[in-house]
């Protein structure tokens, strides 16, 4: 543990900077959403229009990847997109560091994606049927499926961590080497990269979850095709 990043301790728990930043992001998001959605009207104002646009865009993206699962996946996938985007952008603020620049945070998110894939898969088709797809098309594939699950989860965590950390490191280096206004383009690139990485992480999570759910749908489609033939 990096002792410099510990802000304070609660009993045996050492509260680090990413955790505190995450709490701040959570608090800000919660307050913003609570205040913005306090009086929603059928004839929306500007803020309500923005919120509806964001939620509708996420819902539409989920529906396009997994038709009929928009309502169920919206809280998890939408929260991934919103949290990671804001967490990535926090690094732009002076004196703040992106929580996603910490491997523990990205690993936690990756583990949650890993668990959600199995959660939604099992919830969708049942435990036995879901586990059976690891032996498809042959039981020989079981180790490969397991390795694939682990590797993509690790890749998910490391990709986000590496990109955000490298962006922050590059910004610091440019700021140290160049003048005061020179890092502005780098900061603009930071914004774009932060949004892109959030989109990639959320999209990959959606793809993994849809892969777990669609394995059952593909099997149902094959059974229907066999029955009709």
């Amino acid at each position: 543990m990096d002792t410099e990043s510990i802000i304070f301790t609660i009993g045996p728990l050492a509260i680090t900077r990413p955790v505190v930043t995450t709490w701040a992001v959570m608090l800000g998001l919660t307050l913003l959403c609570a205040l913005a959605t306090r009086r929603l009207a059928l004839d929306p104002g500007r803020l309500q229009t923005v919120l509806e646009g964001v939620v509708s865009a996420i819902h539409t993206a989920i529906e396009e990847a997994l038709p009929g699962y928009g309502e169920r996946l919206l809280p998890f996938v939408g929260s991934l997109w919103i949290f990671i985007a804001i967490a990535n952008l926090v690094g732009i603020l002076p004196g703040a560091a992106s929580p996603t620049g910490d491997l523990s945070t990205t690993a936690a998110l990756a583990i949650l994606v890993f668990l959600s894939v199995h959660w939604f898969g099992i919830h969708s088709e049942g435990l036995t049927a879901y586990l059976r797809h690891y032996a498809q098309p042959s039981p020989v594939m079981i180790p490969f499926h397991i390795i694939s699950e682990i590797s993509r989860t690790v890749a998910l965590a490391v990709r986000l961590f590496g990109n955000v950390m490298s962006l922050e490191t590059a910004a610091i280096l440019v700021l140290l080497v160049a003048g005061f206004l020179v890092p502005v383009p780098v900061l603009a690139l930071h914004i774009v990269e932060a949004l892109v990485q959030a989109y990639i992480f959320g999209m990959l999570a959606l793809v993994y979850i849809s892969g777990g759910i669609q394995s059952r749908q593909n099997r149902s489609s094959r059974n229907e095709a066999g029955a009709s033939s």
Partner: protein, 249 residues
Amino acid sequence: MQLDWTTFLLQIVNFVVLVWLLKRFLYRPVMDVIARRREGIEKALSDAREAEAHAESLRQDYERKLAEQDRAHAVEMSRLGDEIATERVRRMAKLEAELACERERHAALADKQVTEAARKAGDEAREAALGFVSRLLGRLSGPELDRRLVDMFVADLADLAADQLAALREAAGAPDASLQLSLARPLAAADQSRLEAALAATLGRELPLSVTLDESLKAGLRVGIGPWLLAADLADELAFFRSGARRGC
């Protein structure tokens, strides 16, 4: 690059809590309002479809009624046309009958006018002839004509019918009977004597005679016996001729 398990676990908990918070304060309210708006839009669309269907139904009903009215109108127009044709035929027949009557009336009127004109022309011709004869006889009157009229009077007395003769004699038999002799001009003594003799012979007695001159007689004489009047003068003859000519036409 170091994995801190405490941070790892806390971030897992943090994200799960964030999912719950966002679901509670963002997704649910926003999705609810979107659903409500969509429901309102669907309801408005449904109402619009119902209104459209109702309008379409009304339009079809209106067109059906319009078609029925057109058919009824056509039937009514046809019936009216027939009635007009029948009425026209009837009125034409009536008019022709009236025209025929009018023509007959005009023809009768024209005939009457022609007859009247002919009669009037005849009257005028007779009047002219009478006037001419009266003027001619007036110019021819004189003692000679008086004498010949006396002759004619005497001859007529001799030819009187028996009943006439009896009536004259009865009038002459009255106690106060007398003869009133009117002359256009004084007769010759011989003619007057011959006249008195013929009267006495006819009446069977001599009556007192009073003689008066009356130029309106133009020529000849007139004898009054009680209620009887015997005339042989030109004025009476012409009046007789006039009245006879009128009766004749």
